[in-house]
Structure formats: C-alpha cells, structure tokens
Amino acid sequence: MSTRVALDAWLAATVDAATEFASTTLDSTLDSDAAIGNLPMDLTECFVALVGEEGSLQIGLAADAAGCQTLAKALFASEDDLPDEDVSDALGEIANIIAGGVKKRMATTQQPLALGLPIVMEGHLRLTERQQIAQTDVMLGQVPTRLLIVCNKDQPASKHVTA
C-alpha cells in the first residue's frame, strides 16, 4: 500500500482527535465536509512533533489571523481580542491536545512516540523534496482550519499501513 494511504491514516486520526477537541473543549463541532473556500496562502500555523526512535512527523493546524483569534478567544472564554502571545499559547495548546489524541489513536500501530513542543509560525509552509504533506480543510467551530501532517518520505512513520 502506498505511503499516501499511510499518511491519510495519520490525517484521519488527526481529524478524529480534532473533532473530540472541538466537542469537549470548545463545546462546538468539527465539520470535515463543509464547503470552505480557498484558505489564503499565508496562514498562522502551529505544529507539534510526534517523535519516535525511527523518525518523527509533525501534526499541525493552520488558520488565518482572524480565525486564530476566534479559536483563542473560545479557548480563553474571552470576548475581547487577545494579545499575540495568548493566541500563540492557545494555538500551541490546541495542537498539543490534537497531537496527544493522534498519539493515543496510533499507539497500537507505532513504536512509542513522544510529544514535542508546540511551534507557532506565520507564512507559507515550504517542503523539501524529501518531505511530504497531507492536509484537509475543516470548519473547527466557525473557523476555516487546515489540519496537516508533515513527515519525511522515507521514514517508517509514513509507512505503517502495509495491508
């Protein structure tokens, strides 16, 4: 089976974990079938690494600035706009929770994985030839959000589905 299918399994686990996060923490929903227009190229992205002995992959989410502000305000239960540091903190926590959910869901098929620290960045993600990405756009509450998996093409983490 192709690496593409394997990555899609990780992405499915990510969508599942994000759905659980939306319902339990935001008291909201995740709609993976919503009609979402093109997200802008430059987004604010947050990644958390899942690191194993044989490699690592990045679990990420991305949204535009207004969307990040909305997610952060929902997490902080705040009606006022939040400073950048609080938005970054909130995005990091969301990514951390989702990555933890992915780790739990993929635990039976993987070597032990450790969670890395959240990294928040702005701009357009650029991959090298050795890297691959799987992504899907969803509505996280009212926020158009991109969920992403990034890993090297040749690492075992991208090949665990071998049926």
Binding site: F76, D89, A90, E93, I97, A99, P112, L115
Partner: protein, 122 residues
C-alpha cells in the same frame, strides 16, 4: 473551602482547567496557579493544598518529578495529572509517581468530577 493548585506552563490550559473546575460542581473552592513544578513546590511549601492538578510536560521541573519532590519534602497532597499524554505507559508512570489519577486532554467537567469524587473533593 477546598484549595486547589493548577500547574501548567500554558495560560490557555490553566484557563481551561479553571473553567472545568467551575463546571464540575465541586462546591466552594479556591484555585491558585503555578507555571512549572518549581513554582508549584514553593506554593505548596507556603501552605496546605487539597489537590494539585499538574501538566506532564513542563519546563524546569516537569509533572512527573513534582509528586516525587513533594513526597521527598514530607508533604502530603492529593495529586492528579491533566495531560495530553494518554498512553498506558504514561498512566503507569503517573500512578507510580504517586498520582491518584490522570485525566487525558481533551476532557469534560464530568470526567474531572468523576476523578475527584473518590478523593472527597466533589
């Protein structure tokens, strides 16, 4: 009044735990916060707490070292982890460290209530 200490380096997560505590029908309680294990240890030295709710991965002193440090100083306090680390291995480590429970993020107020009930805190 029950006195609780939330230990997490994320302000957002401390806010989430505070909100869940409010929604978990715990009755009257007072909540204090620390951003890492060292700061938590200092607050615990300053007076008795009924419960520590700590993250697992934190700078300076991480969650797993905190209950050991508390015990080594002869202090006694109920201890629970609120963490994204939900595997069986992590759960075993948490219990071995002296924690009474581990709640995996994301969690509901009901899960928090259910964890605190056996400790007489809900």
């Amino acid at each position: 009044m029950k006195k609780l200490l939330i230990v997490d380096d994320s302000k957002a997560m401390r806010m989430i735990v505070r909100r869940a505590l409010r929604q978990a029908n715990l009755g009257e309680h007072q909540v204090d916060e620390a951003t890492n294990g060292e700061e938590a240890l200092q607050k615990l030295r300053g007076g008795p707490f009924d419960l520590v709710l700590a993250d697992w991965n934190m700078p300076q002193m991480n969650g797993i070292d905190l209950p050991k440090a508390v015990r080594s100083e002869g202090m006694s306090v109920n201890f629970g982890f609120v963490t994204s680390e939900g595997t069986d291995d992590i759960r075993d480590l948490a219990m071995q460290s002296g924690a009474q429970f581990l709640i995996v993020k994301p969690f509901t107020p009901e899960a928090l209530h259910d964890a605190l009930k056996p400790l007489g805190l809900a």
